[in-house]
Symmetry: C2
Subunit: 370 residues, 2 copies
């Protein structure tokens, strides 16, 4: 059989689907693209079993066919070809796919589509639409705090929560927590879905413009973008009751310029030990002193950062790396810290919330070494 397409059109669709190809896998078949040609449409699928990406283009073809082709090799070849027409000839006797251009002939082996894992079509119970940019922001704002530790599998995913207060995205690793809410998307029936971190990170890179249709059932979530569909298994574990750790009565308030505090914290990181990364914030009326010490190297640092503070004088310790992460994801020029004591969770928020949004970050303090 024969089909043909422009190299740049093909490159674009291969690039959209490629992120699902696993870098290392015990199942070599997953290092391939599944090609499905039906009625002049080529559908390309890649999967690592957990997530699946799929996209289609129209091609000139004479027959229907299915096959699996080495993903990296094909993608590299097509990228290297420049802008040209590619004629594909499939030779089923030798299991070879031949690419012909004006100046070159390229043969690559292919395997039967039977060997590729079946990607079941899913019936979804729930659907909603969201702007790509809004979804991207929701993921980027929160997924940094997803746990990397397999002890509690639910925390290795991003919680998507529907309730009366809005559509919420929540991530926590036990040391910090981020809750980002879209206030306009309220739901009568509360529901929770936990999406694996790999799905959110692959999805975030694919999101640019337009609208996304999200479809859900108990075990699967699909994101239908304009030119590619991502499907992911959900994490089948109950998410911890995160709201119980959010303190309601943190009465002390520190207001500080985000960029000033963050550049100070970045310098302090040079003076912390790799394992603990401890910084100490000493608060007195309208005065913030930040200190760090690396006993191993005999180095230490102290800085004064201008601020507004209303509350009891106290010294509180944080992991400087975590604090830096939190500040990096704070979408405002000024940060507000809500505190109660050196041992109680600290809440960090933007001074002004964006319209229809609510961002709350929580950071657990660390015990200060004396």
């Amino acid at each position: 059989m024969i089909f043909s397409t422009n190299s740049k059109v093909l490159e674009k669709v291969l690039s959209k689907v490629f992120p699902a190809v696993p870098a290392r896998t015990p199942m070599p078949i997953l290092e391939n693209y599944l090609f499905q040609i039906e009625e002049g449409k080529l559908t390309i699928t890649a999967t690592d079993i957990e997530i699946t990406l799929r996209s289609s283009i129209f091609i000139d073809s004479t027959e229907n066919a299915e096959m699996v082709v080495p993903a990296k090799l094909l993608f590299d070849i097509v990228k290297s070809l420049g802008d040209t027409l590619i004629n594909f000839e499939v030779d089923p006797v030798n299991s070879k796919m031949k690419l012909k251009t004006e100046t070159g002939y390229y043969n690559i082996g292919y395997a039967s589509a039977e060997e590729f894992p079946k990607i079941p079509d899913v019936n979804h119970d729930k659907k909603f639409g969201i702007a790509a940019r809004q979804l991207k922001k929701s993921l980027d704002q929160t997924s940094f705090a997803v746990s990397k530790e397999a002890i509690r599998p639910a925390m290795m995913g991003l919680l998507i929560e529907f309730n009366m207060e809005g559509l919420r995205f929540v991530a926590t690793d036990g040391h910090r927590l981020v809750r980002y809410s879209l206030l306009s998307e309220k739901s009568e029936i509360p529901e929770q879905y936990v999406v694996p971190e790999r799905a959110t990170s692959v999805l975030s890179k694919l999101l640019v413009e337009g609208n996304v249709e999200v479809a859900l059932n108990d075990s699967t979530i699909s994101f239908l973008l304009e030119d590619v569909e991502l499907t992911s298994r959900l994490i089948n574990q109950k998410y911890p009751d995160y709201s119980s750790v959010i303190p309601l009565e943190n009465e002390f308030r520190l207001k500080v310029k985000k960029s000033e505090l963050q550049s100070s914290i970045k310098r302090m990181l040079l003076f912390t030990t790799t394992n603990y990364q401890q910084v100490k914030l000493t608060l007195t009326t309208d005065q913030l002193e930040i200190t760090a010490e690396n006993i191993e190297h005999g180095s230490s640092a102290k800085e004064m950062v201008s601020c507004e503070y209303m509350g009891d004088a106290m010294s509180i310790g944080f992991n400087a790396g975590f604090l830096n992460d939190v500040l990096s994801h704070l979408d405002d020029t000024e940060a507000v810290f809500k505190l109660h004591s050196p041992t109680k969770a600290c809440i960090i928020e933007p001074l002004t919330q964006k319209e229809n949004e609510d961002l709350m970050m929580l950071l657990m303090p660390v015990r200060i070494n004396n």
Copy 2:
């Protein structure tokens, strides 16, 4: 004692000297900068024993002093400070160096200058001047071909050769050879010096504009740039007689557009095995066919490249990676291959040499698998 300087001025000089600090070393003292303060001048030195970098700035200081300070920590701190005045206070009782800025205090430990390896002042027998850009081009054009294998230590360096035909830079790893000559710099007395690859790669990054004074003796070479001096040990081994491998009677000529050939070779690399990277060039009158085959993956490729060829029809094999390297360093839009047979060294040159320059590259063919 006390001294002060602007952070950006200090950052610049630290960055010039930092490349000599070894990334890994069994001698921790080498992970430091040597600071020498004398009469209002701060000289900063770093060395990995083989190469040494040294640069100076004028500072406000009250006393002379010497000490060694952790290179990476100090460089990172100074980079992170923004544009500010830094006041240094040295506390010899506790071996602490304190940096003070308007908002911060930073303490780092230092050690005695006695512990730092002595960098002897060198008397040089030979000196010459060269434009920085010209020297940079000479290094970049050739050093890619320096051998990485320790079997023949001389070939792990770049040969700088003075003779009647010019100032020559030569590198070879036994598979390929590059000879780049500056025809205007002729010398009556032939001399050879072999510079370690690390010196040439560090030097190349420092060369931007202005003039360089090069000083030589039997064991050492120094490059005095406008704001930094690099000194390197020479490789104390005789360089192989490279001219004996350059064929004089390669009578067949292939002329080809460099970019066309190179993009073809890059595609062919996708179809070669990692170990051998073999491509086959089949030459007939005015026709160049390039083929590659990866038996492991059952993939193969064939391309036609337009050319002018005068000579006997032949098929010749090359390492595609080496051929790509050679073409990357060919300073012309058209390449000329001078050939004799599939088993004899091939010469590759630009169609037109630049004024006062002569570039000759040589590539050994590989046996073609049939």
